[in-house]
């Protein structure tokens, strides 16, 4: 039992970090970022290249992955999403653009890093063993780093000036603009920050699960699930969604083991029931 809870917390911390980036981008720009999983994969591969191949220390690689993705996110916002949002008649057009960006990143990743599964050496070796709990130390480190990043993100959004500006933007774009918030600049910062989070999780997780070019889509789907549980565009919702999904996955894999690989079927069925009671998730704002 302790094992299941520990696994759930560990998964939940990473999932929440992924969902945070997605929900931030959604809150600021009403863009559903299909390319989120691909950004995660790119972060993983950058870490692999710097830590695994060049042999530099892991924190350097993690920072490099985060910064790379931040820059990529900022460029994508400035040169792709901003013009399309301005000119298209329907908000949904950004979804097509996001899907195209996802394909594009997939292609770039495939060309640059190949289709092989890649892993890196463990950052910390050894396993923690007690009565009911077996946990490798590297998982614990990753889980704690993820929790620290979540805390840092929440504090940044709550107390810093850009954070305040972004929250204002998410609440009401026009009103924020009238109050003198530089909408364009903070949209870009927000998109970059969302991409950065995706890259950082990718960099963290490459040390445990490795990375390959095909996992971008499934990661995006998991991120969508979490955002639906918690409610789109809300920071607290993303964190709650991430931990709930992590916990359900951990419990499901244990309880439903003898029935085969049906954990996600059950989760989806539960989600349908849940959404028919609360269409906007736990704490989401209604659409439109």
């Amino acid at each position: 039992m302790e094992q299941v809870i520990a696994n759930g917390l560990y998964l939940g911390a990473q999932y929440a970090l992924i969902a945070l980036g997605l929900t931030l981008i959604f809150a600021l720009m009403n863009v559903l970022n299909f390319a989120h999983g691909q950004m995660y994969v790119l972060g993983g591969f950058v870490t692999y290249a710097i830590y695994g191949q060049l042999g530099l220390p892991f924190p350097v690689a993690l920072a490099a992955a985060s910064i790379t993705l931040g820059v990529v996110g900022a460029l994508i916002e400035k040169f792709l999403f901003r013009p399309v949002v301005r000119r298209s008649e329907r908000e949904e057009s950004t979804m097509l653009l996001a899907a195209a960006v996802a394909f594009f990143l997939d292609a770039v990743i495939l060309l640059a890093f190949g289709e092989k599964q890649r892993g890196v050496p463990k950052i910390v070796s050894g396993v923690f063993v007690s009565d009911g709990l077996i946990m490798p130390y590297d998982r614990m480190v990753v889980g704690i780093v993820a929790l620290a990043m979540i805390a840092a993100f929440v504090l940044y959004m709550q107390y810093s000036k850009p954070g305040r500006a972004m929250r204002a933007l998410a609440q009401d774009r026009v009103a924020a603009q009238l109050m003198g918030v530089k909408v364009d600049r903070y949209s870009m910062i927000g998109f970059a920050l969302g991409a950065l989070l995706a890259g950082a999780v990718g960099g963290l997780l490459v040390t445990i699960t490795g990375v390959n070019s095909g996992i971008g889509g499934p990661i995006s789907i998991k991120a969508f699930l979490m955002v639906m549980i918690g409610g789109a565009g809300v920071v607290g919702g993303a964190i709650a969604g991430g931990f709930i999904l992590g916990m359900m996955e951990s419990v499901g894999l244990t309880v439903l083991r003898e029935y085969g690989d049906i954990t996600y079927l059950v989760i989806f069925a539960l989600l349908m029931v849940f959404l028919s009671i609360r269409p906007n998730g736990l704490m989401g704002k209604p659409w439109g």
Binding site: F26, N30, L32, F34, L80, P83, V84, R87, S88, E89, R90, E91, E92, S93, M95, L96, L97, A99, A100, V101, F103, F104, D106, A107, V108, L110, L111, G217, P218, I221, F224, L225, V227, M228, A232, G260, D261, I262, Y264, L265, F268, L271, M272, V273, L275, S276, P279, N280, G281, G284, P286, W287, G288
Partner: protein
Amino acid sequence: MTTKALLAGAFLLVLLIVVPLAIGASGREDLYYTLTSVALLSIISAGVWITFYIGRINIGQGAYALMGGYVSAILVTAYGVSFWLTLPLAGIFCAAASILIGLPILRLRGVYFAMVTLVLTEVVRLLALALPITNGAKGIVSIPQPGGISLFGVTLLPDFATLTNPRLAFYIVSVILMALCFAGLYRLKNSRIGQLCQSLQQNEELASSIGVNITYLRVLAYAISSFLGGVGGAMFAAISQSIYPSSFTVADSVNFMLNCFLGGLSYVFGPILGTFVLYFGWDVLFQTGEFQLLIFSAILIALMLLLPNGLLSLRFSSKAKGAGR
């Protein structure tokens, strides 16, 4: 109206007579498969278009295509039902399933609906892997070719297994199905229900307040959409004579949505054009080898930057401003 009907008739004649003649003359038999795929994919995309028409972004069409393919394949292989009977049955099965699924999820809007349908695609794939009747990851293979239909001793449709060129037969069947589908869609769009659906797209609360039964309408539209997905999927299973859990994946669902977007959401025939351009574009780029996806997605991004409202908006840009939406 009459000129439009004439144009549509002429287009159909070209597809049914001129194209086969041209293919016969040039000897490019492989084009039959490409064009058949375009016809079927545009039927499936037409379903997505209907959900767009009621103001929902549907990225779950792959789920129904997969479902339809499996229903038809299981009925043909396990129960020996004639393929031509399974075609509508697959559609009806999908429509019934979509009513059950749609009742809760159609209350969602915008990205919420988009996300839940996207997850649905993945779930149906998992279901196909887990259920015993679908034969897991191995899929259902060597499905027999569609049999013939005869009425009072008159052969209406020959047995496909005896034909010398089943590709041509599949092509003709698919084109006719596509014509039926889009004629029906055009009729639906210009009917009373179509007008009501448009009111949903603009403002559901307002429509509801003046007495439009919005729940009924959106479930109806979603059921029609899934029906088309099921029929298209069943046809695909028959042509490739096989169906796997990976036959229709999330990428396919996204592609169906892209087809509609690219053609332009305000135009009934947008899905045909969008499918044609995307499928042929993808095929042509095959020669570029490993750069295929890179160039393809770069072109998509460029198209979005230049024409954010779809390809058809280019030609009708002056007319479409007031009308259409």
